[in-house]
Amino acid sequence: MLDLHGYGWLLFDGLQLTIAVGLCAMVVAILLGLLGSWGKLSDNWIVNLTANTYTTVVRGVPELILLLLVYFGAPTLIQSIATSMGYDIRVDINPFIAGTLTIGFIYGAFATEVLRGAFQSIPKGQAEAARAIGMHRLKTFQRILLPQAMRFALPGLGNVWMVLIKATSLISIIQLDELMRKTKIASNATHEPFTFYLLASFIYLGITLVSMMAQKRAETWANKGVTR
């Protein structure tokens, strides 16, 4: 039988943090995705350019580099700006917040593309009809566009989530005690790295499988009124 030398709970703690970071980052990613897709579909060229630069740059640079840049680069940048203005401050970023924001920021770019596609696949007549019965823009968005876009976006957002939750393993590099780092601690203490990394990989696989099933159910639910 698998002997974890009492380190099983450590991994369980790590798993909780992994899921917490993953969910928070997903919320950030969807919010940024909504903002980004609005920017991409906007007529204002400055907004448009900003959104396009965002997705182009983020999708062209490895997550690890972006993560290191935010976690180690941002504080030093702020400090050196402060020093040049005559202040002496020390900036420390909380690894949970840095990890969540960076992962959210990166996958926000992928969510932007998904949501842009979703908004574009809503027939134009829908918004026109909403306007014709007197809804103003915010209400149209809230009642007509968003619910329909979410249905189109569901498969894509599900994929973003599955890549995102795996990417959270990277934040172990910035010393956040999530699953990956707890695994490292356990494997160093027991000298059984294979056992623990294999177990960690099965935990991630479990998250993926559960997510796949949830996605399938969500899609059936969202398409209830359509496919019958």
Partner: protein
């Protein structure tokens, strides 16, 4: 912000970028060689062949690459005696071998899924036409199914190549001095944190979009006959 320090170490960074490209290309070639048999194994009706292939693909797509790298590099240490007896310890002690092995298995799993989808998407008519000309079995596969599947799968495969290029940055965690690794090393020496990371990010950006461009050109060459062309009438 002082980028002159980056200028001083630019040759080292370029060397790191070269390592990144080298690892990408080597993993791609070996990964592709594994992906096609894997895709075919996934498609056979024999469960004894298709289920191991399915489990392989599920495992490598369902777990983070970082775990896979650590499992191979650090995990192999647990079997040091056994591996030494088999004469394999020399390989598993080497971060290059472990890093490339993890990348190869990972990209093989993702590419196998792409090619499996592409093979099932080959139009029935094409295969029937091949049959009508008297081809069957391997000949039909080599001349009709595979070339068509490759054209169908090319855009998705291009995306996978770009993901792999970025994923190679993870091998820096097992001491390989690729572009990310060399940047981290230079930062611990010079403390110029964001200067080096920003430069590395820019270099990755250039490599990524160069690859995107190459794949677009290649796609146009391969699928050009299928694209709508604007025919302008002579005046």
């Amino acid at each position: 912000m002082d980028f002159s320090i980056v200028w001083q170490y630019l040759p080292l960074l370029l060397q790191g970028a070269w390592v990144t490209l080298w690892i990408t290309v080597v993993s791609l070639i070996i990964g592709l060689a594994l992906a096609i048999p894997l895709a075919l194994a996934r498609l056979t009706k024999n469960r004894l062949i298709s289920s191991p292939a399915y489990l392989f693909v599920l495992y490598f797509r369902g777990t983070p690459l970082l775990v896979q790298i650590f499992l191979i590099y650090y995990g192999s240490g647990q079997f040091r005696l056994e591996l030494t007896d088999l004469g394999l310890w020399g390989f598993f002690r080497d971060p290059w071998f472990c890093g490339i092995l993890a990348l190869v298995l990972n990209t093989a799993a993702y590419s196998a899924e792409i090619f499996r989808g592409a093979i099932t998407a080959v139009p029935r008519n094409d295969i029937e036409a091949g049959r009508a000309c008297g081809m069957s079995g391997l000949l039909l596969f080599r001349r009709i199914t595979m070339p068509k599947a490759f054209r169908i799968g090319l855009p998705a495969y291009g995306n996978e190549v770009i993901f792999l290029l970025q994923a190679t940055s993870l091998v820096s965690t097992i001491t390989i001095l690729d572009l990310t690794g060399i940047s981290r090393q230079l930062i611990s020496k010079t403390f110029a944190v964001y200067e080096f990371y920003l430069t590395a990010a820019a270099m990755y950006l250039v490599m990524t979009y160069a690859l995107v461009y190459l794949f677009r050109v290649w796609e146009r060459r391969m699928n050009g006959h299928l694209q709508d062309r604007v025919v302008t009438a002579p005046r």
